[in-house]
Structures are given as C-alpha cells and as structure tokens.
C-alpha cells in the first residue's frame, strides 16, 4: 500500500496498516497543554482518577497565554499548573520560556512523531514532519494519562508550492494566499501536505509559519517532508539524534492536489474578521493603523525578527503607531539580543514584550480600544480576538507589518525593501 505522510505516521503508531478514513487508537509521543486549557485538563485527569502522566519526558504544561499573570484568577490557574506538574511528573514551562508551539518545535517534536496539544496551533510541529494536531482539554487529559489517543486518519490534500518568490513575499504570504483560495473550511478534517520546489527550499522558520496556519483552513495537520533542512535545524537545536527522513510514497493517493504558482503571489493581508478574507496589499487603499504586532507562534521567530529589523534599522515608526514586538521564545529573545535586533527595535520606537503569546488572544499587553485597527503577524483576526469585538485586526507578514509601522498605514513592503 502506498501511503501519505499521515498514513505512514499513524500506521506506525497504531502498529497496523491504516489508510485514510480508518479510525485507530494510537500511541502519542508528545503531549501538552497551556494555561488557558491546562486547568480544565487537570480537572479532567483528576476526574478519571489519574495522578501521574504516562510519559514524563514529553508531557508539558506551558504558561504562555497570560504570562506573567495579569490578574488573580489567572495567577491561581498558574499556581494550579505549577503544583500539578510537580505532583504528576509533567514538565513545567513557566512564564520565562515562551510560546508552547515554538518550544515544542525547538525542544520536543521529532520527525515521525505524533504530537497532541490542547491548543489549535499544535499543527505548527507539522513543519518537522510530525503528525501534530490540536485537541480539547479532555482529549489531552486522556493523552497525558495514557500516552494514547484515538485518531481518524485524514484524507490528504497536497499543496504544490512552485515557481519563485517575488521580492517582499514570504511564507506568511503563501499561506494567506492559499487560505484565500480554499477558504477557512477548505481543508476541514483533512491533512495538508506541502510539497513543490518552493516548499523544499523554505527554511524551517518559514515552514513553521505555514504549518501553524494549516488549522485556519480547518486542517487537522499541515505536514512538510523531513529533509536536509529539517536535519540541519535539529542539529542546530542539539537534537540531531531525533532526525529521520519523512516522505510520502510516490504513488500515495491524494484527495486533491492544489498547484500554487508562487511567482504570481504579492504581499498579502487578511481583512477583518476572517482569515480567508484575503487581498494583495497593493490592491487596498491606505488603511491607517493604530497598533502593529510582530510576534506570536506564527511569526515571532528569529528570521521574522531579522526581517523586521532589516526594515526598521535607521527608521522611526510613525508617531500615531504603537509597535509591539514579542519574541516567540527565550532562545529567540537571546538571539535577537546577541544580534543587536532588540536595540534596533527600541531605537525605532518599538515596545518589546516578554516571550509569550502577548496580546494575541486578548488577555493583556495590548488590548485594542473601540474602532482601533491592528496589523498583526498572528494567525487569526476573528472579531474580539484581541480583547475587543469593536476593534479590527488585519494579518500580514513581518515585513509588511514593519513597513506599515514606519508609514502609519498598511504598506507594501516593496516600498521600503531595497
């Protein structure tokens, strides 16, 4: 039987041959929850009578969504998680570490793994060739307790990114463009497999951006092959031992194949309030922005910060804009300091926020006022997302975001990139 990446990984973890449409109980390698979903996960574990996690090396609770805690109720939730990790044997990733998905990529997920997390963007680790998918607290509670879950083997849509990337066009633009074509439910219950010459040439940071947003098309996973780039990335993280090749079989069956000619793609934005409401930046009128956010699990990695710094260096942001920059993890933050990026940002007028989710989910650190407009590098622009249903969120790449912070309105990065 010829298999897709999903069929291969799930078969191996069920110890029998599976094809799309089958349902099986599978072993899972990495399990995690965060401070928004973790407390309910703990409750559910206790209800089932489980005190310990089954795999203490790869069961992690992250405190990243409201870190540091902005209010007492959340401090209580954090305290619960800190205490539960001690008693259950799970690992604690506290407020100084950063966003769960970034740390899962840096430290835990390996090619060929099954990764489940109580957060919808768990699919980020698909960039490493891991079958990584988000679930709710109860599923994750069972995952912690048994290191198992049940899976429906998804049908796969193959996406061939071919052609060349134009100046000013980045991984974020590719995935926004794709979601614009297939819609916010275009891949519901499906796996996306990213292929083609552009995918093969993308660095890991860019692959993470694309896999991260697979769920915005409804996908269960967003998978890349694990290849030489993957091996190099793992090596740079001191984890070369966990590398293995992951490729689909040549004759694997795909439900659909989508060809994307990247040469036609321009810098993109998502307009409020859905991610599939997409348009090229060059086609919109001047839209004034009040706040710009560069960061999150989508675009808070070192290569994103380098691109932003390249644009911001020697410039000052518009007086009418607040620019928030949030490194995705402690490691990203340290690299940004070493490379002098933080100094560039501060001199340009940016506000640096500690590694974590920052203002992305509307809890703290940059909640918008009524009628305000934010251009963000995050993955979602739903009404109310940044804490106020009367605000407007646009999504873009870090380059577009940095250019817009300088100009004060949503700006095509080609205007400032030389």
């Amino acid at each position: 039987m010829f298999k897709t990446i999903s069929e291969k990984i799930l078969s191996e973890h069920a110890q029998r041959d599976l094809k799309a449409g089958d349902i099986a109980v599978v072993n899972v390698d990495v399990i995690f929850a965060q401070d928004g979903t973790g407390p309910l996960t703990v409750t559910q574990m206790k209800k089932m009578g489980f005190e310990k996690v089954a795999n203490s090396k790869k069961s992690i609770f992250f405190i990243d969504h409201a870190a540091p805690s902005p209010r007492k109720e959340l401090s209580d939730a954090h305290k619960l998680l800190r205490e539960f990790t001690q008693s259950s044997g799970a690992i604690l990733s506290d407020i100084n570490q950063g966003i769960c998905h970034q740390i899962i990529a840096e430290k835990y997920a390996c090619p060929g793994n099954i990764v489940i997390g109580a957060d919808s963007h768990t699919c980020t680790a698909g960039a490493l060739g891991a079958f990584a998918t988000g679930m709710g607290s109860t599923d994750i509670a069972v995952g912690f307790a048994l290191a198992k879950t049940w899976m429906l083997v998804p049908h796969t849509i193959k996406v061939n990114f071919n052609g060349v990337l134009n100046k000013g066009v980045f991984a974020k633009d590719l995935i926004i463009y794709l979601i614009g074509i297939i819609g916010a439910d275009g891949a519901t219950y499906r796996a996306l497999e990213f292929s083609g010459e552009v995918s093969a040439n993308l660095e890991m940071d860019d692959r993470f951006t694309i896999s991260n947003m697979a769920v915005e098309a409804g996908a269960k996973v967003g998978l890349f092959c694990a290849d030489e780039k993957t091996r190099k990335y793992l090596e740079s993280q001191g984890r070369s031992e966990c590398f293995k090749d992951i490729f689909p079989d040549n004759s694997a069956y795909y439900e659909q194949v989508i060809e994307v000619n990247c040469s036609e793609i321009e810098p993109m934005v998502c307009l409020p309030h859905t991610v599939d409401n997409t348009i090229s930046v060059s086609k919109i009128d001047k839209i004034k922005v009040d706040q710009v956010l560069i960061g999150t699990c989508t675009n808070g990695r070192i290569s994103d910060l380098r691109i932003a710094a390249n644009i911001l260096q020697g410039n000052e942001i518009s007086k009418s804009v607040r620019l928030l920059i949030v490194p995705a993890s402690r490691d990203v933050y340290l690299k940004a300091i070493e490379e002098g990026l933080i100094e560039i940002f501060v001199k340009a007028g940016a506000t640096i926020i500690n590694p974590g989710c920052g203002p992305c989910v509307g809890v703290h650190q940059g909640v918008l006022s009524d009628g305000e407009i934010c251009l963000s590098t995050q993955n979602r622009n739903f009404k109310g997302r940044m804490g106020n249903p009367n605000a407007f969120i646009y999504l873009s790449s870090p380059a577009t975001a940095a250019a817009s912070a300088i100009k004060g309105y949503i700006t095509d990065p080609r205007e400032v990139l030389y």
Partner: protein
C-alpha cells in the same frame, strides 16, 4: 434511545454541582491552600443510548439561528480568559460577541442552528461546555470545525451536521436522534442529518470521554 436526566443541565442544577478542588498536595493545610473552583461538568453529561433497540427519544425545542464561521472567540471571548475556571460565570457571556443578548434569551432545551464551519478557531473546550451549560441541547450546523466537533462529543453536547438553510430563528424543532431526522414543526418539513461515526456514538453512549475512560480504564473503541 434513552435520554436520562433530561433536566440535569439546567443552570440551577448546574451551579449546585460545582465542586471545590483543593489541590494543596496533601499538606493538610487547607486554610493556606489555594481554593480553585472547578466546574463539575460531567454531572451534566446526559447518558445516550443510540443503539437501535433503545427507546425512541426526541428532543423538542426552539432554535436560535446563527450564520457562518461562528468562532470560538465569538462563543467564549478571550477577554473572559480569567473566567475559564468558573464555567457558570463564563456561560453568562456565551456567544456574546455574535448576539449580545443571547445568554439572557436562551432557555434549557433550546437548540442552535448555524451555517458553515461552526466553532472554528481555538481548541478551548470551554466553548462547547458553556453552550451546554447555557441549556442548549443540540447544535445543528452545515459543518463544524474539527476540534469543536470532537470536544462537543467528548463533553456530551449533541452536534449534528445537516442542511440548516430551512431553519429560521425561533422555529420549533423536534430532533429524532434514533431515526436521524429533524422535524421543523414551524415549517412542517423534515431534514435528515449525517450519522455520527461509530466511535463518537460510543463515547456519547458512555456519557462522554471521561466516563468512557473511567468505565474501561482506557480506550474501548
């Protein structure tokens, strides 16, 4: 089919069922320990019996109609993040950003009917849970986002995929879970719904995933 405890998810009963977890690591110093209110939602999970020999069970109620792409941010807004450990309180804001008055209007036994991609967005299980706490017995939609759908079944909220185009706000519906159809009594038409996968029927029958795992000490799917 059987529907036990048909009133068990009323708001009043729900509040009585809250439990206080003391997670003070057996130190016995309860006064110094942190009290953390955790909502006991399992008590509201109805027991389903979707096998063919069960008694017929029909849900009847009025419907609230919503459009496409009702996100988990609309259902359980992020600005109430701090209420996630107090689900009855969070439920007072259910769907607030889609219909500010919804929590006041909704009564136990009502339904939601929506368009495409209901529940897209975050994995927060709090979203289906507060819909259930608010009294909604079933959510009907053209399609559901994957994680929401799985969460709904895990916590015992009926989620059915069907054509909702012929359902309007405040129509009265009768859902026949055994026969697999919905009677729109207001419009006098019948609508079929897609059967759930066997695995999900099993989990619903056992009263949600927590009960399933507790009963079998693991998966038995």
């Amino acid at each position: 089919m059987k529907f036990n405890n048909s009133n068990s998810n009323s708001k009043e009963n729900f509040n009585k069922d809250n439990v206080i977890f003391n997670f003070n690591k057996n130190t016995g110093t309860e006064n110094n320990g942190t009290e953390y209110t955790v909502t006991e939602d399992i008590s509201t999970v109805e027991t389903f019996s979707l096998n063919k020999n069960g008694d017929a069970s029909i849900l009847k109620g009025r419907v609230f109609k919503f459009g496409d792409d009702i996100s988990t941010d609309l259902i359980a807004p992020g600005r109430y993040f701090h209420l996630r450990s107090n689900l009855p309180e969070l439920a007072k804001h259910v769907l607030e950003d889609a219909d500010p008055d919804f929590a006041n209007k909704v009564k136990t036994g009502d339904f939601i009917a929506a368009g495409r991609n209901f529940g897209l967005g975050s994995s927060r299980e709090h979203a289906p849970t507060i819909i259930k706490i608010a009294g909604i017995r079933a959510v009907l939609a053209q399609s559901f986002a994957r994680i929401f759908f799985r969460n709904a079944i895990n916590i015992g909220l009926v989620a059915l995929i069907c054509d909702t185009s012929k359902i309007d706000n405040l129509d009265i519906l009768e859902i026949d879970l055994k026969q697999g159809h919905i009677n729109n009594l207001t419009k006098n038409i019948q609508i079929q719904f897609n059967p759930l996968p066997d695995v999900m029927i099993k989990i619903l029958n056992d009263g949600g995933l927590v009960n399933h795992i507790t009963k079998y000490k693991g998966f038995n799917l």
